[in-house]
């Protein structure tokens, strides 16, 4: 159960609500009503807007260019494990990566509040650059705006990234077939739970940390082991967590899924913090993980390859796709019972990414 914070201002009934930006079903409805219904040019040939995949793409001759964009509003700006800089870089580069494409270039646009510390800004940009170095991506353009005090809260960063691949060699959300094995690249709940813990002022012996980081190395390992044919679909489980991402993959691919709670890696410190917060680690955002659906013949190879990477060393097989209960994810619980793993309505807290 999540309580309402006493000092949060009430928003007027008619305009947008915070729910509609939180990544869950309310936001999907908003996108459908306001964006999809009003846009007549949404792409063709590549991955179009209507597919609502992690990135979009256009075809240019024999090549396919992948493009993605993200705004980052996280609060607090600096948190255990990272900051808005590393988050902005990782989040966007990961959205290109999970299309099976190596990101090549990124843009960086910031809207900053008057009075914001220059030292903090430098720190953020250095952190951003650290991720670029790790992946080998260049920042080639950007934008800067400073608004008057009070007109924006701190800083909002928007990044866009591109990757280039051979035409057609894209991994979409919709490629899963019954029998495919579902792998998660590491522990879940780290980012969401650690941010919520920081906000609650939890003070643990072992400080929980965000997992924010680029996963291209992990994706590359999977692609090397199985190719774009063997890797059927990928998704980074951000807002709405693992639950939301699995449901989305199942729906888009037209399959059902069966996962085992026992196999889903959750760090002990995250599990304890989650228990205290009353929040489910499966429904909060992750910022350094990928769900990878794989041809069953190649799943062991892929798993071994992931475990040899730094950010994929805790990769685990969590379930498989099935032909039954299409669009639904059934979880076998820790004690052997069964229940549906439902999409959460959205992330339990605002400004988590």
């Amino acid at each position: 159960m999540v309580d309402h914070k006493p000092d949060k201002a009430e928003r007027p009934a008619r305009g947008l609500s915070v729910d509609e930006g939180s990544g869950g079903s309310a936001m999907m409805k908003l996108i459908s009503e306001v964006i999809l219904s009003n846009v007549t040019r949404y792409g063709c040939g590549g991955v179009t807007l209507r597919e609502l995949d992690d990135s979009g793409s256009i075809v240019v001759g024999d090549l396919e260019i992948v493009l993605t964009t993200d705004a980052h509003t996280i609060k607090p700006i600096f948190f255990p494990g990272g900051d808005i800089g590393s988050l902005a870089a990782s989040g966007t580069l990961n959205d290109v990566s999970v299309m099976g494409v190596k990101p090549r270039a990124i843009s960086f646009s910031m809207v900053v509040e008057e009075g914001f510390s220059k030292d903090d800004l430098s720190r953020i940009v250095r952190s951003f650059n650290g991720v670029l170095e790790e992946v080998g991506v260049d920042l080639i353009t950007g934008d800067t705006k400073v608004l008057e005090k009070g007109d924006i809260d701190g800083v909002v960063v928007t990044t866009s990234a591109i990757g280039v691949t051979q035409k057609g060699r894209i991994v979409r959300d919709s490629g899963i077939r019954p029998g495919d094995i579902i792998i998660i690249s590491g522990s879940v709940g780290d980012h969401g739970i650690s941010i919520l813990s920081v906000r609650e002022g939890f003070d643990f012996q072992l400080e929980t940390k965000s997992d924010v980081g680029p996963i291209w190395e992990v994706v590359e390992a999977a692609l090397e082991a199985a190719g774009t044919e063997g890797v059927r679909a990928m998704k980074d489980p951000t807002r709405g967590g693992l639950s939301n991402a699995l449901n989305e993959l199942a729906e888009k691919s037209g399959v059902g899924m069966e996962v085992r709670e026992e196999e889903i890696p959750i760090r002990q410190d995250i599990a304890s913090a989650a228990e205290m917060l009353g929040v489910d680690p499966l429904s909060v955002t992750n910022e350094g993980k990928a769900i990878i659906a794989v041809d069953p013949e190649l799943s062991d190879d892929v798993l071994a390859a992931l475990r040899r990477t730094r950010r994929g060393r805790d990769a685990a097989i969590i379930g498989r796709a099935v032909a039954d209960h299409v669009g639904e994810v059934v979880m076998e619980t820790k004690v052997g019972g069964k229940r549906l793993l439902e999409r959460p309505i959205g992330d339990p807290a605002p400004r988590i990414c």
């Binding site: 159960m1 309402h4 009430e10 009353g278 619980t333 004690v335 052997g336 019972g337 229940r339």
Partner: protein, 360 residues
């Protein structure tokens, strides 16, 4: 206390196997009266592990859901008139007759969400302003209210008491024929206060097998096993599965404090009706701490659930959340219609979150 054994997969599976072997062909209806039990049952998928003939039915175990509209309306009115009302987060969004504390606050009413009574007292003391604590809950929370009354509270602090009592409510419902059960799963936390003996009346007078259950999956299944055994033996009794926390006589000190501070009275259970001697009110000696008597607000309350809402049937176990046409569509935790979808202990909310019971 190491609870891991009570979540141990092989033990749970073994217990479920025993249950499957024992279960008769005829349908058995076991009811529980605790949102936390429904949470465990749904979250671990326990219904999928037990025979179809054993139906575990969620009863009126959600204190927020059964708090009457007039009590909610009173809280709203007091807050609207400028006195800070302290409430749990769960109660904040529950609609009364016309509004909720949350909506009222958006209109300027003074409502403050707190995690506990002690937080409310602390904040009120620091503010040096009058405050009212909306004291809801079953026998689990009543002792905390009583203890605060006896210890003393800041000047101007009072209580809007809306506590409810489980055993009298159940006996009334049985007398009225509103519920029919083959077994009763009793709430662990309430039982630590009132004691195992409080349920003897169900076994002895009503002939209903009783099991007081802890909150881990193994606890629940062991309780079900014993209820089935009792049913087959035709010898109903009170089985205290939660003996690690529940004593036969309960928590004497807590019961003494409650008895000192409160008197038992008839109370309205929202959507269900007035159940005799099923609620608590402050005794005359503590009238100066009784917000109902201090503020004397008149509310034109409609004693029911919001229009279209089937929460009252869900509370009595005659309608499951998935049978309500509003469930998941017009009624979701983000935009709830009735209290069962608002409260963390509400059956609808729990089913929405954990996928509900599906036949596999």
């Amino acid at each position: 206390m190491d609870l891991s054994r009570f979540q141990d997969r092989s033990l749970v599976q073994r217990a479920a196997q025993v249950l499957r072997k024992l279960a008769p062909d005829e349908e058995l209806r076991f009811m529980h009266v605790c949102g936390t039990h429904e949470n465990t049952i749904t979250r671990y998928g326990i219904r999928s592990m037990i025979p179809d003939s054993i139906r575990v039915i969620p009863g009126p175990g959600c204190p927020v859901c059964v708090t009457s509209t007039s009590e909610i309306d009173q809280a709203i009115e007091i807050a609207s008139r400028g006195t800070t009302v302290y409430t749990y987060g769960d109660m904040f969004g529950v609609p009364g007759t016309r509004s909720s504390l949350k909506q009222a606050r958006a209109q300027g009413a003074r409502v403050r969400v707190v995690y506990s009574l002690s937080d409310a007292i602390k904040i009120s003391r620091e503010s040096e302003e009058p405050g009212v604590f909306f004291a809801i809950g079953f026998e689990t929370t009543a002792p905390t209210t009583a203890s605060a009354v006896l210890s003393g509270v800041p000047e101007g602090f009072s209580f809007l008491v809306a506590h409810r009592l489980i055993p009298p409510a159940l006996t009334s419902l049985l007398d009225m024929g509103r519920i029919e059960l083959d077994g009763l799963i009793c709430p662990g936390h309430v039982s630590t206060i009132i004691g195992a003996n409080a349920y003897r009346v169900f076994a002895e007078k009503y002939g209903i097998p009783v099991a007081i259950s802890g909150f881990e999956p193994l606890d629940v299944i062991l309780s079900l096993v014993d209820l089935v055994r009792q049913h087959k033996d035709g010898a109903p009794r009170v089985f205290n599965e939660y003996s690690r926390c529940v004593r036969p006589e309960g928590n004497r000190r807590a019961l003494e404090m409650m008895s000192e501070v409160f008197e038992v009275r008839d109370a309205e259970w929202r959507g269900i009706g007035t159940l005799p001697m099923s609620g608590l009110g402050l005794r005359d000696g503590y009238a100066d701490l009784d917000a109902a008597r201090i503020y004397r607000v008149k509310t034109n309350s409609r004693q029911s659930m919001p229009p279209g809402c089937r929460c009252s049937e869900v509370l009595l176990g005659t309608c499951s959340p998935t049978e309500c046409p509003l469930f998941g569509s017009a009624c979701t935790p983000a935009r709830p219609v009735g209290p069962c979808m608002v409260s963390g202990e509400g059956t609808c909310r729990i089913w929405f979150q954990y996928g509900g019971y599906q036949k596999w």
